[in-house]
Structures are given as structure tokens and as C-alpha cells.
Amino acid sequence: MAQKSIEVVDIRSEADIVGARVRAKAMAEALGFGYMDQTRIATAVSELSRNAFQFAGGGKVTIMPVDGEGRKGIEIVVEDQGSGIENLDLALKGGYSTAGGLGLGLSGSKKLVDEFNIHTEVGKGTVVTIRKWL
């Protein structure tokens, strides 16, 4: 089986945001996700990597296949070592913009995936883990 293994994309520029979503989309396609889900996954990756770039100056995106309870899926971890999110509830609620977007990046990407976990520590950084099942 030609299962793709782990891919890591460093986010150091705006072009890397595009790179991360292209790689996520390619892996989603290879795993058997349809167009709709490929787009949902890539869009979530785009939002999360932009957050890492804009608020932390960069970060790391790890994309990998996952197995769980007899189902297959994709997991993406976006981590940065920025200043963390002070008001996480507000950021997750949406409409809270400190950058040039719509303030819906975090809340919006949460709606696109099956599992969304965020761990943030003020002064240390943020790790967002998302999963989508086939």
C-alpha cells in the first residue's frame, strides 16, 4: 500500500501557507477524501497556518494519516512558539480579529473538521490539532 507518511512544512513566509495547504490537500486526496473534504481540510490548514505566521511569525505544520477504531483519517498539527492566545473563548467564538482577516479563521476552521483541539499557553505558544475522518 502506497500510504503517504508524515509531512512537515515549516511556515516562514506567506508562500509557505500556500505550500502547507497544497500538501494537506494532496495527502487528503491520496487517503481517499473527496473534493468537498479536501477543500475543507486545505482551507482549515490555510487559516491555522496563517494564524501561526501572523501572530507568531511562523510555525510548523505536520500532516499525517491516522487510524482510529477501524476508521482512517488525516491529522494536522499546527504549532507555533508565539505569545499564545490570551482570550481563547473569544477567539473561538469568532468575529474577533486582530489581523487583516475576518476574525473567523479559528472558529471557521473548527467548523470544517471532525475534531479540533487547541492548547495555548500565554508566552509559550499555541498547538492546534485537527482531524477529519473518512
Partner: protein, 121 residues
């Protein structure tokens, strides 16, 4: 960063543009400036913005598109966004984004029709 210029074509009173590459953030902002400058230069009355080749539209691009439409409007030109892919439209809806204030149409032909109608009314 490389400067990629996206063609903005003129036909009659209208401009037509159709980016064929993924627009990263700086490119999107540059493209917005280029469009607005072309509207002034050509005194265009409308712009059809075909995004059928764009497979990912995220919050940043939505905001840029909205700003293009508003700024163009202030300068007397209508913007019609055409060619939205179904999976892109669905993703925007699910995320809670709207292209409020932006005219949309199915394709280039319909987009030009919309521009013709808004001018008459």
C-alpha cells in the same frame, strides 16, 4: 518575493480577470491594488472576477475580494465574482463567511450580463 502579475483584460467598458495561480497573501493585496489602478486607468464601469481556477478561498481572500468590490464601487465600477467552485462555496458557508455586498454570477457570460443590467437600472 517574486512579483507575479495577473492579466486584467479590457473589453468595452469592462475588465475581466481570472487568476490561474494560488494567491498567497501579499499577491492578493498586490492584485487588489493592480485591479483598482486598472479601473482608474481604463475608466471601466465594471469588472468580472473569475475565480474558477482558485481552489481554496480562505478568510483572508474573502476579505480582499470584499475590499475590491467596495473600493471599485466607490470609483463607479461594479464587481461581479464568477466561477465559484461548489466545494469552495460550501466551505465558505460552513465557516460562516459571506460575500455580502459582492455580486456573484455563475460564469463569465452571466457576469457580463449582470454588469449590463446594473448599468441600465
Amino acid at each position: 518575493m517574486e512579483r507575479v502579475s495577473i492579466p486584467i483584460l479590457k473589453t468595452g467598458d469592462y475588465l475581466i480577470t481570472s487568476p490561474q495561480v494560488a494567491l498567497h497573501d501579499k499577491m492578493a493585496v498586490q492584485f487588489k491594488d493592480d485591479i483598482l489602478r486598472r479601473i482608474v486607468e481604463t475608466k471601466a464601469k465594471g469588472l468580472v472576477f473569475d475565480i474558477s481556477a482558485i481552489d481554496i478561498v480562505d478568510s483572508f481572500l474573502v476579505r480582499q475580494i470584499g475590499e475590491i468590490a467596495i473600493a471599485a464601487n466607490i470609483m463607479g465600477a461594479q464587481v461581479v465574482v464568477v466561477g465559484l467552485r461548489p466545494e469552495v462555496a460550501m466551505t465558505l458557508v460552513e465557516m460562516g463567511f459571506s460575500l455580502k455586498g459582492v455580486h456573484t454570477a455563475r460564469d463569465l457570460e452571466k457576469g457580463l450580463e449582470v454588469l449590463g443590467k446594473t448599468r441600465k437600472s
